[in-house]
């Protein structure tokens, strides 16, 4: 098999995702302007349009401060955009809901709950029986490698451990759409690889839709159907790239697949080409 050419420059707003599935998330000409303390307007997102099909794994790449988190907040319904609309399953997003589960960059664990309490929180909220919720929580804690730390409070965990608890907490209540903001950013390579595989497994099994912010091009290519490249001029979408690699993916196999390497190199080159990523100095 030869190298499939990458089709860059796909129009933003064109459906993403595998096969003929319906768009589950539609972002339509969304802009976000913040008022700063110094009373100036700061544009975090300008005129973003994007649609994500059901069951798609979409990664968002972009320089620091380009508005990735803000975009996730809008899809999550946590902030309402200054202009434009975001829709989920055809309905305008007016607030957060258990159908969209966020994993925040800052973790936002509940400090008054132990690891177990944090992870059980969502299932209990969804009306699961305590016994069942605990079993589920323990399984997820085991998955993220924190068995033995169930009784620890967040303040007693290391950075990477907190991040894993945040991940487990969101996975625990099984949202349809996962909104993950650098969920593996604070992890060492091994834990990271391991959790990538686990995430893919869950995704393949439960047919979830995932919006995944990351800084690792390699991670984005490995995991995604589509990679959205954002740029800071300010906060807009530069390219949307289809990742046409076979599933299920195994890293050992992919590493030998020249298409995989080409995707990575091409995306990196695309970032290189844009002066946008150069730090002003």
């Amino acid at each position: 098999m030869g190298v499939t050419p990458i089709r860059p420059g796909q129009l933003a707003g064109v459906p993403l995702g595998r096969g003929p599935a319906e768009p589950i998330i539609e972002i339509d000409h969304v802009s976000q302007v913040f008022k700063t303390s110094s009373r100036r307007d700061h544009t975090a997102l300008s005129d973003i349009s994007l649609s994500v099909e059901e069951g798609a794994f979409v990664s968002i790449l972009g320089p620091s401060g380009c508005g990735k988190s803000t975009l996730l907040y809008i899809v999550g319904g946590f902030v309402s955009p200054t202009s434009g609309t975001a829709k989920m399953k055809g309905k305008a997003i007016t607030g957060p809901g258990p159908d969209r589960g966020p994993v925040f960059q800052e973790f936002a664990l509940f400090p008054w709950k132990s690891v177990l309490g944090n992870v059980m929180y969502g299932p209990l909220q969804q009306g699961m029986k305590p016994g069942k919720a605990e079993t589920r929580a323990r399984a997820l804690i085991a998955m993220v490698g924190l068995t033995g730390f169930e009784k620890f409070y967040p303040k007693e965990l290391s950075g990477g451990m907190k991040q894993r608890v945040a991940l487990a907490r969101t996975l625990a209540y099984g949202p349809e759409v996962l909104l993950m903001d650098e969920p593996f950013g604070a992890l060492d390579a091994h834990t990271r690889t391991r959790l990538q595989n686990d995430l893919l497994e869950i995704w393949e099994r439960d047919r979830k839709t995932v919006l995944f912010v990351t800084h690792s091009v390699e991670e984005a290519v490995f995991l995604s159907d589509k990679v959205v490249m954002m740029s800071r001029s300010p906060g807009c979408i530069r390219e949307v790239i289809d990742i046409d690699l076979p599933r299920p993916r195994r890293r050992e196999e992919l590493l030998l697949d020249p298409r995989y390497q080409k995707y990575i190199v091409d995306i990196e080159r695309m970032f290189d080409d844009s002066g946008d990523n150069e730090l002003p100095s």
Binding site: G77, P96, R100, E106, A108, W112, Y121, Q125
Partner: protein
């Protein structure tokens, strides 16, 4: 040595306080400022008097009721104000208009509707306690990290549930600070609410003694109230420590750079 010093510190401080008082009163030679020893000597007669004990218990009962009512009312209100700008905008001016008014001045009107009995006094205690609890809950709720609330909302918690299950625990350390100040004010208002009209109570003993110029009894009562303060405070600290053990600083070194 160090291990011994810690539990003894409060005792030492009390002794120091009494000593300072003793010296000051000896130096001033003033009838209305008896020495610490004279006042201490007046404590046992009060405590062995059945009437006095009944009086003190009556005060404590009123205080407990006022305190509990105030918590039940103020914490939800404060949290609501902290999370909703419009509630805060609605309540703030009104509260700020009401609280500075001295309750003693309103006594005639309070008496008109509520009589001179327990209800009026409990109301005064209620007002005294609710002030700090409302404002600490308010500020505590305001400072709750937003993403925590977002996490809750994403798990399907309604606004009310978020208030109860996220804002309340997250703001708990701050709320408890308010409660502690409230507890102090409860003791104070418990006594002062009996200043004008009284049937029984600790304030009853104290203000009678004051009227009669029985200063050793006055100061003995002050000692007793102070001791009650210490006890209540100690109980409160235990409860607080248990409730917010998750928020205690992890390392105890950095703040102790003396």
């Amino acid at each position: 040595m160090k291990g011994l010093l810690k539990p003894l510190a409060p005792v030492l401080a009390c002794c120091g306080l009494l000593l300072a008082w003793q010296l000051a009163s000896l130096g001033l030679k003033n009838d209305s400022f008896p020495t610490a020893l004279e006042s201490l000597r007046a404590v046992p007669p009060i405590l062995s008097d059945k009437d006095a004990l009944i009086n003190i218990l009556a005060s404590l009962r009123r205080m407990a009721i006022g305190f509990a009512l105030a918590l039940a009312f103020s914490i939800p209100l404060g949290l609501l104000m902290g999370r909703s700008r419009s509630t805060a905008a609605f309540c703030n001016p009104l509260l700020m208009l009401i609280y500075p008014v001295p309750k003693a001045a309103l006594m005639p009107i309070i008496m008109l509707w509520l009589g001179v009995g327990d209800i009026s006094k409990t109301l005064v205690i209620f007002l005294g306690v609710s002030l700090p609890v409302i404002y600490h809950s308010f500020e505590g709720a305001k400072a709750v990290e937003e993403k925590m609330l977002w996490s809750g909302a994403a798990m399907g918690l309604s606004a009310g549930e978020r208030l109860l299950r996220i804002v309340l625990p997250a703001a708990l350390p701050e709320i408890l600070t308010g409660c502690r100040t409230g507890l102090v004010l409860a003791l104070i208002t418990m006594v002062t609410s009996e200043m004008i009209a009284r049937q029984s109570g600790a304030g009853n003993i104290l203000f009678n003694a004051l009227d009669m110029g029985q200063y050793d009894t006055v100061f003995a009562m002050i000692i007793i109230i102070g001791a009650m303060g210490i006890c209540l405070d100690a109980v409160f600290e235990v409860i607080r420590g248990w409730l917010v053990r998750w928020s205690e600083p992890q390392f105890d070194m950095p703040l102790s750079f003396s």
